[in-house]
Symmetry: C2
Subunit: 574 residues, 2 copies
């Protein structure tokens, strides 16, 4: 009664032969042929076992692993639309993402959320969504292009494809039990969705208070002892590139048990993805940091699938979704040769091979700001003539944190005489409001020039940094001419520009074009003297007032740790 022909009566669609499957349950590699029908795995069989299929895939010499699952990321950070992003990252093995579109939703609210959740639906990538929890990121401290109430968020939590509340970044407000965040987190908890966290170095009683609301993950950079504390406390630790340091990995491996870990990308730009990879790159970083390859694989597949409550993936098993990556060479190389999503071959040798539609532009009407001229970069203050001590932001070369510093500058006729003395940051509201805030920036040896960007976490106002009013005006004007984006000026000349006409944060151009442009911006920033592992991120997070310690918004400088606006000058007492 039970011959093989009867067990597998219909022909399969695909047979992947000759490879070795890596089990994300046991860490073993074992020779097996994998059979697919429709979007499902229908067999994992000893090599040569019966089972016809219409299409053969030769996996000789390759490892067959589950598609990678990204449990925390923002598509906008790539500057790509969801459609273009899918092609670029499927080619690196990322078959599922949970995306938190908080950049574009800060720009254009519910309309942007709707556009994002629908844009990638025709692609073979599973794109799931978190509703941004912090629009604006910090209530009362900045103006974004939109503002989402608990009721707005509750409504969006019921949209198709939405499974989470996006990272709860305003952790200080949560810890302090402030009404806005209490309402938002409460709405999500009542809906039973995933509550994603963001709480750098939060610890002790404050960590407890934050977690007590139901938020139970973190992907930020923490001191090693805080990584361990959070894991011990039952917070799901998500590790991005900057977190994957040898001492962190060593400390995790020294625990009695390895906690459940997810590897995540958070913010990766198109050029970075094209040149180094997506989750595959994070996997290699993790291997280099000392995490065993089988633990890396589980943290790319099974663990994030569980986190996202996707029971149909994360392991190469009959009955599960046919999201598969064929890797060349040894596992630790995490080198995708061929990617299958939902049973279809979607990428080969790092290139998508499925038919794609051209991407239409969208969300173009998001600017309401005056033409940019050197006049706009006069820093006017209500201070008497003479020297004054101004608060300044000191940046570093590693991460997005800043230190609070100070700069002594002369004031003459109500205007700070900053040119020739310091680099200046200006944040200009771009949503029709008056907000304009200035501050000196320390920690860079820059040549003459400027950078302007409308991609600036999280409100995406117009941020300009430069050494002269004319170079700053040039950069800012170039950005507005492009309908948003980034421009770098060397001297008086625009050296690189990245147009981002979709809400000022994304581009409908092909990935290669955007990567070339963002690569050029990165190079131009570095040549200018912006010395940082990720120069663009370093610029675009000057406004990220949930990242310690002194940041700048369209309303004021912000003491991030105290979550308070602070004035431009240093009080006399300090």
């Amino acid at each position: 009664m039970t011959t093989d022909q009867q067990h597998l009566p219909e022909p399969h669609d695909v047979r992947i032969s000759g490879g070795r499957v890596v089990s994300t349950f046991t860490g073993e590699e074992f020779a097996a042929d994998v059979l697919l029908r429709g979007d499902r795995i229908t067999g994992v069989l000893p090599p040569g076992a019966p089972g016809d299929a219409r299409e053969q895939v030769d996996a000789t010499g390759m490892l067959v692993v589950p598609g990678f699952v990204d449990a925390h990321m923002h598509i906008e950070s790539s500057f790509l639309t969801p459609q273009t992003f899918a092609g670029l990252t499927l080619a690196r093995g990322t078959t599922t993402v949970l995306a938190d579109p908080h950049e574009i939703v800060n720009v254009a609210g519910a309309e942007a959320m709707r556009w994002m959740t629908e844009a990638g639906q025709g692609t073979p990538q599973t794109q799931l969504w978190g509703v941004p929890s912090c629009v604006p990121a910090l209530e009362g401290l900045e103006h974004a292009g939109a503002s989402l109430s608990a009721d707005d968020i509750d409504a969006m939590l019921q949209w198709p494809g939405v499974i989470a509340l996006g990272e709860v970044m305003d952790y200080r407000a949560v810890v302090a039990d402030e009404p806005r965040m209490r309402g938002i987190v409460g709405a999500a908890r009542d809906r039973g969705v995933i509550l994603d966290g963001h709480c750098p170095n939060l610890s002790g009683a404050e960590l407890s208070a934050y977690m007590a609301t139901g938020v139970d993950s973190d992907h930020t950079k923490n001191r090693t002892e805080v990584v361990l504390e959070k894991a011990r406390m039952g917070m799901l630790m998500m590790l991005q590139e900057k977190c994957l340091l040898p001492d962190v990995v060593e400390a995790l491996l020294a625990l009695p048990q390895l906690p459940p870990l997810c590897l995540v990308t958070d913010d990766l730009a198109a050029d970075h993805i094209l040149s180094t990879g997506h989750l595959d790159h994070i996997a290699r970083v993790a291997v280099r940091a000392g995490l065993p390859a089988v633990d890396v694989l589980r943290a790319l597949t099974w663990n994030p699938a569980q986190r996202l409550r996707l029971y149909d993936r994360g392991v190469v098993a009959p009955g599960k979704r046919a999201d598969l990556v064929l890797l060349r060479g040894e596992l630790a190389a995490f080198d995708p040769a061929l990617v299958i999503a939902g049973g279809r071959t979607v990428a080969r040798d790092g290139k998508p091979v499925y038919a794609t539609e051209p991407v239409a532009g969208a969300l173009s009407g998001t600017f309401d700001v005056e033409p940019q001229t050197p006049e706009g970069f006069r820093w006017q203050v209500e201070l008497p003539d003479g020297m004054h001590r101004f608060r300044a932001m000191r940046v570093n070369s590693r991460d997005t944190y800043t230190e609070a510093a100070e700069a002594e500058l002369p004031v003459l006729d109500g205007e700070v005489q900053w040119e020739g003395r310091v680099t200046l940051v200006r944040v200009r509201n771009r949503y029709g409001r008056s907000g304009t805030v200035f501050a000196p920036l320390l920690g860079r040896e820059l040549g003459a020039g400027a950078v302007a960007t409308t991609y600036a976490h999280d409100s995406h106002n117009l941020v300009t940094v430069g050494t002269s009013r004319t170079s700053m005006a040039k950069a800012a004007a170039a950005v507005l001419a492009d309908g948003g984006g980034v421009a770098v000026v060397h001297g008086e000349t625009v050296a690189a520009r990245l147009p981002l006409p979709v809400g000022g944060v994304m581009s409908p151009a092909p990935a290669e074009e955007i990567a070339a442009q963002s690569g050029a911006v990165r190079t131009a920033l570095t040549e200018w003297g912006w010395d940082h592992l990720n120069p663009f991120m370093s610029v675009s997070t000057l406004t990220l007032a949930v990242s310690p310690s002194l940041k700048i918004t369209d309303r004021s400088l912000v003491d991030v740790v105290r979550r308070e606006p602070v004035g431009a000058t240093v009080p006399a007492s300090s």
Copy 2:
């Protein structure tokens, strides 16, 4: 702004002080006070940290761990109603169960399912439900008191508290793609519920075909190499007592990664629970078999919570449900001193301490069978006078499997002359049908006597085993007089009886009374000569035709491996 008083503004309900929390994420033990409010954990704080509470619990010298979660079990196996079961097992630390009521639903169908899912709702235990997938267990091979179609099951899958399709036991039918099981499994897959499995030693292409339907767990006893194969293939392995053998554990620990494991109870009787424990007992068995205590704890808590898609438990963490067990001594002892469920202290020193309602009887009208007399135990056959070779079941002393054997017996005037020669098994349909099947039973050195039971997997017909017609009639009559249950007869005297008036499989009596009765049955069986680790289970699974290799139902003997009815006599050719 952020003092501790402001973080934790309201008084908590409970503060558990002086204990050490065991992290199911890292395996660490760490000193911490645990604060509760309502049914939630609201703080896991360094000892002495601020935080008032109305009630203090002294955990000095104790370990604080999450409540235990049982991902595969049957409440009826305890003979207790859901209400009584809750009290008995909460006291051992089991705060959540996924119960598959396939015993009582085989007796009384949807009415029984409704009663079970509602019966335990007032208790502090989280009782969740799987819809029995195999009612009857084997289509065409036995008659139960009910029969559930795919449509019946689909309807029940939408009932409150139902989260799973109960163990898909008819794995041969699934592998052969037979219509009934295809429809049932397909209905559950379409509903997106958990699909629980049962497939002893299934392997290779057949295992692949079984898993391809979406069933992705197994709790049966497998050969060690099959345990490894199933784990490698992405099947969630659930280990019950008989599976927790040192060589299995050693093989699992030798893998590159420990797969996700759940410890489960499956079938534990009240007296066993009272004398040895529930999941706490299984945990100790696992420790003795060599599984490190921290892995045991994770397999009791976090892993099964993930399996059951319960995101609010399985780790002692702020924001999670306040299901906690305080353990005496070292972790490996798994010795519960105090149990908290949903924030309430529900058991102390092995006794429930919450107010319980008396349990009402139910499901009493489930018998339609003639009075039991010695006449009914005449084994009549259509065979000529003379010696004949009859198929016989050979039982062992370890598990529920039987071997196909044979017994040569004389036939005279159309009646097998079995008395004085062999022990006889008779299965009598108790739902108004004519089915009556006999077979010799080998492998026991029994004194004069009999046992009868209406608790007989899974159709719960009236099963009687004995050495004489009079003793068998006496046992069967005693059981019917009790409204169902078990009776053991030594010689001509009823030595022990366990009345089970709720559907013939459960009792509304208090746990201690049932435990005393089932303990007496167990003792009486052993004294009679029924030599087995679990004598009652050995009797009640003679009819379990999904457990290899020769079983008996009200319709015929069954070749389990071939899933076919077989005749009473051995064909001449063999």
